[in-house]
């Protein structure tokens, strides 16, 4: 067997782009707003609604302020990257397509133990749920595989298949690294050395953790949450579901920062999440109505 150098972080993304592009997916760019997961991208949330076919793949930078560890934990980040694929309606060979993508990035299923382990996905802030699995590679969760049943409180007609790859975990696996920060990001040439994930992002992790846990102005954030809520409602009144939804995303992120800052009590938590869910649901409802789709 010839020894091939494992994919760099960027080649992992490029390989997936190439693979899913060949399957007929539109390769999109990340949504240019702070969000907790690729599912928040309008290409997933809004496009999962309605009858029109939709096939897309994209990287989504995902922010989880409470998961920040000042760049000191080798397995946790406050900001990371998800690779998201959405296929609507879910094709009959979705599992085969997915396994083909693992093959493309160099995972041999007769050398590594690939398993589909029950994991039903639910996003309380999006009013969404689906059935599926977390996909294990030698015991490590590398992908969330979901058949969306509801989005924004509406039945998905038809059902979309959604794949969410954790890029850092997958790269750690492929490159056999024990720390995210040691991941090789790009490909060295004779006169240009490779950089690591840590070279690029560790300082961001340090500063953003300090900001989210210690510095963020909570009065400003509470105020911003209120304003985003009001703005969302105003957009809905003007029958503008996309800008309304953007305000819902904004409110969701502000809520996440407030959580990290530790100023939302357990009692209040559910009520804040409920408010974000109402905004997201309202936006989805307006999107359905604007397109003339029946619930």
């Amino acid at each position: 067997m010839s020894v091939v150098a494992p994919l760099s972080f960027q080649d992992l993304i490029l390989t997936l782009h190439d693979y899913w592009g060949k399957q007929g997916c539109a390769i999109l760019q990340p949504y240019d707003m702070e969000m907790g997961a690729g599912t928040f991208h309008t290409a997933t949330t809004l496009r999962a609604l309605g009858p029109d076919p939709w096939n897309a793949a994209f990287v989504q930078p995902s922010r989880r302020p409470t998961d920040g560890r000042y760049g000191e934990n080798p397995n946790r980040l406050g900001a990371y990257y998800q690779y998201q694929v959405i296929l609507k309606p879910s094709p009959p060979d979705l599992q085969e397509l997915y396994l083909g993508s693992l093959h493309a990035i160099g995972i041999d299923p007769l050398l590594h133990d690939i398993r589909f382990v029950e994991d039903d996905w639910e996003s309380p802030t999006l009013g969404a749920w689906g059935l599926g699995w977390e996909v294990w590679c030698d015991g490590m969760e590398v992908t969330q595989f979901t058949y969306f049943q509801q989005m924004g409180g509406f039945d998905c007609k038809p059902v979309s298949g959604e794949l969410t790859y954790g890029l850092e975990r997958l790269a750690m696996y492929i490159q056999n690294k024990d720390s995210i920060f040691d991941l090789v990001y790009n490909n060295a040439t004779a006169d240009r050395p490779a950089v690591t994930y840590g070279d690029i992002f560790r300082e961001n992790e340090r500063q953003m953790s300090t900001y989210h846990f210690e510095v963020a102005d909570t009065d400003m954030l509470f105020d911003a949450f209120k304003k985003a809520t009001a703005e969302c409602e105003s957009c809905l009144q003007h029958v503008l579901p996309i800008p309304a939804y953007e305000q819902a995303i904004k409110a969701s992120h502000i809520f996440n920062v407030l959580q990290a800052r530790g100023v939302i009590s357990v009692q209040e938590r559910a009520s804040y999440m409920g408010r974000v869910r109402d905004l997201a649901k309202g936006s989805c409802q307006a999107w359905m109505a604007k397109n003339g789709w029946a619930a």
């Binding site: 382990v117 590679c137 490590m140």
Partner: protein, 680 residues
């Protein structure tokens, strides 16, 4: 006679659902057969992650022909009745037969081909299948009425003998083709008939017998541990779960850094078991070893080296997270953690967890100071109560909620609390349901009892008892725990007194009844009769549950003897005669001398004179067997009385006297138990 094979192939079925799915498939299939008048000699079911299958043997090729007779109108009935009957049956009048003045329609139903019955039954079984959760998928899901299955259904194999049973559901057509192992076998496999199903799949790296996969995992995991000089911590739940995750299970041993063994072993075991489905191992000294056994689903071509390395890495990452939480939590005193409980709602009507802790702490002190829980220091007990919920806000319990209590025990010991206090914090959730260990250490008993008592009293006082199958606050479990603690520790006290001490509210009638009901459920397993519990409880005044149960047991022992059964029969007879009449004892005294002549009367009366005070004395001394023995002396005289004496004598004075005598007998028995509640 022939055999039938059905395989429903789908994307991966959750492991936890497979055993139940096998049962459901057998049941639905047998029902469908029975409805058609068919039966199989045997039905065997199979489940793997990707298929649910069934083999029925000894099926007839067709159902028997039957002639069905339907009763129609009488001769000479109005013409409308006849018209209606003919319309319903689709016959003409000359096709009817007449018997005893009534028309009958006789329809000869030819036997049906079993294949036809099955072709109809398969889609019906699929549509009716009771998965705990099911989904829609694919293009058909534009309609919410589209087929649902646990995960997308991909193929159906249906073979009767060597022949296809053709059927179709939402574009999936049955046939003889299936798939082998996802990675070890590519392309389709053709199954000839039920007899070669298992063998064909075995050749394609699929073991369809759930029990065989379980055995391979059970034995293989044990052997892997032994080969490393270790002993597997057996776990049948994990065996079954891994069997549900694999079609070709291969257990393998991996290692982790011994440095992680500083973390409490429950944490290691939990993260290995719950998150990763790994077994853990003990070393020769029965200490947790730095090894685990994972179960792969392939025979890897490097013999699993890469798989073991990968799993080791995942576990190391999880353990380093756990170690981080452990070390962080140790930096904060439990007293400081406890302050944060004010932020956690216990229930919106019942305040925060801090409020609950405060109530429990007071109740604990009361239980000890009243002498209900003996052998505990009130200060220790209160200290344990004040800290018992503090671990809820630690990082570790946030990550592993199942470790509540256990972690609190570790953190308490680490900050220098006494063993009594740390043990109480660790064990105060116990017993969790029937069969769990019941705490016996006094401080633990006090905290555990107070915690459950508070929960019960508060929820009932706030009007939130369990209803029907709904018990969102697990009050039934709390009640069983409460009762087990009382009974096993022989805690003597008035139930009412304890309920009042909770300070939860005024009336506890519903809660008392609920607890008695739970007592019946709990004691059923021990063979204690529920009607005897009622017989004691309905006396009123007996709310010391330990004493109540002792009385019930003495009663049960007596009632189950021939003598006891006779006495019960005599009681019922007496109560029956007395029903409606309300005899007055004075008649007894005044008429006594005149009416004493009857020897049966004399015998009963003198027996009562002795037995009544004896029983009373024995009850006061809690000598319940003696009380029963006193009652037993009444058996012969009451039998004789019934044999020789006519109660309803024409002479009013005699009748009143005899009724009075019977009433006295009834009351003597009733001071021991309310025999009217006893069944049989």
């Amino acid at each position: 006679m022939t055999d039938f094979l059905l395989e429903l192939r789908s994307e991966e079925i959750p492991a936890r659902m497979q055993v139940k799915a096998k049962e459901d498939l057998a049941r639905l299939f047998n029902d469908a057969l029975a409805k058609a008048g068919l039966a199989a000699v045997s039905v065997e079911t199979f489940a793997t992650p990707r298929r649910l299958a069934l083999i029925a043997t000894g099926l007839p090729m067709a159902t028997d022909a039957v002639s069905e007779e339907t009763k129609g109108p009488k001769l000479g009935a109005p013409p409308q009745a006849m018209e209606g009957f003919l319309r319903k049956t689709g016959l003409t009048q000359d096709q009817l037969i007449e018997r005893d003045g009534v028309y009958f329609a006789v329809v000869e139903k030819a036997g049906r081909q079993t294949a036809d019955v099955l072709a109809e039954a398969i889609p019906a079984i699929i549509r009716a299948f009771p998965w705990p959760k099911s989904q829609r998928w694919g293009a058909a899901s534009v309609s919410t009425e589209s087929l649902r299955w646990v995960r997308p259904l991909q193929g159906i194999v249906a073979l009767l003998g060597d022949d296809d049973v053709p059927c179709e559901i939402e574009g999936i057509c049955s046939g003889a083709a299936t798939m082998g192992h996802r990675f070890h076998h590519s392309g389709t496999i053709h199954i000839a008939n039920a007899a070669n199903y298992a063998a064909k799949l075995r050749d394609a790296h699929v073991l369809v017998h759930f029990s065989e996969r379980c055995r391979i995992i059970r034995d293989g995991a044990k052997a892997a541990a032994e080969a490393a000089g270790l002993r597997l911590v057996e776990d049948e739940g994990l065996v079954v779960e891994n069997a549900g995750l694999t079609e070709w299970p291969v257990p393998m041993l991996g290692r982790f850094d011994a440095g992680f063994l500083d973390v409490p072993q429950e944490v290691i075991q939990l993260t290995a078991r719950v998150n990763q489905k790994y077994f853990v191992c003990h070393d020769k000294a029965s200490k947790l070893a730095n090894a685990f056994v994972c179960t792969a689903n392939i025979d890897a071509h490097d013999n699993g080296a890469a798989i073991v390395a990968g799993n080791e890495k995942v576990l190391a990452a999880r353990l380093s997270d756990a170690k981080f939480f452990w070390e962080q939590d140790l930096k904060v005193a439990l007293d400081d953690q406890a302050k944060k409980l004010a932020q956690i709602t216990f229930h919106e009507k019942l305040g925060s967890v801090a409020d609950k802790v405060d109530r429990v702490a007071k109740l604990v002190r009361w239980l000890v100071e009243e002498g209900i829980v003996k052998g505990a220091s009130a200060d220790d007990a209160e200290r344990a109560a004040r800290l018992c919920k503090a671990d809820l806000v630690t990082g570790m319990v946030g990550e592993f909620p199942e470790l509540q209590g256990i972690m609190g025990g570790y953190y308490a010991r680490a900050q220098g609390e006494s063993d009594a206090v740390a043990d109480a914090i660790r064990d105060h959730y116990k017993p969790v349901g029937q069969g769990d260990d019941v705490p016996m250490a006094p401080v633990t008993v006090a905290v555990s009892l107070a915690d459950k008592l508070d929960t019960l009293a508060q929820f009932f006082a706030a009007g939130m008892p369990p209803t029907g199958s709904k018990d969102p606050f697990a009050l039934r479990r709390a009640a069983i725990g409460f009762l087990s603690l009382l009974l096993q520790n022989d805690l003597r006290c008035s139930l009412k007194g304890m309920l009042v001490a909770t300070g939860a509210g005024a009336s506890f009638a519903i809660l008392e009844e609920f607890l008695i009901d739970r007592l019946k459920v709990q004691q059923r397993e021990a063979g204690v009769r529920h009607d005897l519990i009622d017989a004691m409880f309905s006396l009123g005044g007996e709310d010391d549950l330990v004493r109540l149960l002792a009385r019930v047991k003495a009663l049960q022992a007596y009632i189950s003897t021939a003598e006891g059964a006779n006495l019960l029969a005599a009681y019922k007879r007496a109560a029956n005669i007395l029903k409606g009449s309300d005899p007055v004892s004075p008649a007894l005294d005044t008429a006594r001398d005149a009416l004493m002549a009857d020897p049966a009367n004399i015998a009963l009366l003198s027996a009562l004179d002795i037995a009544e005070p004896q029983a009373k004395k024995a009850l006061a001394a809690e000598q319940f067997e003696d009380a029963m023995a006193a009652l037993a002396t009444l058996r012969a005289p009451i039998d004789r009385f019934f044999e020789e004496v006519m109660v309803n004598d024409e002479d009013a004075a005699k009748r009143a006297f005899r009724l009075g005598l019977l009433a006295r007998f009834r009351d003597a028995v009733t001071q021991v138990a309310d025999f009217s509640k006893i069944e049989g």
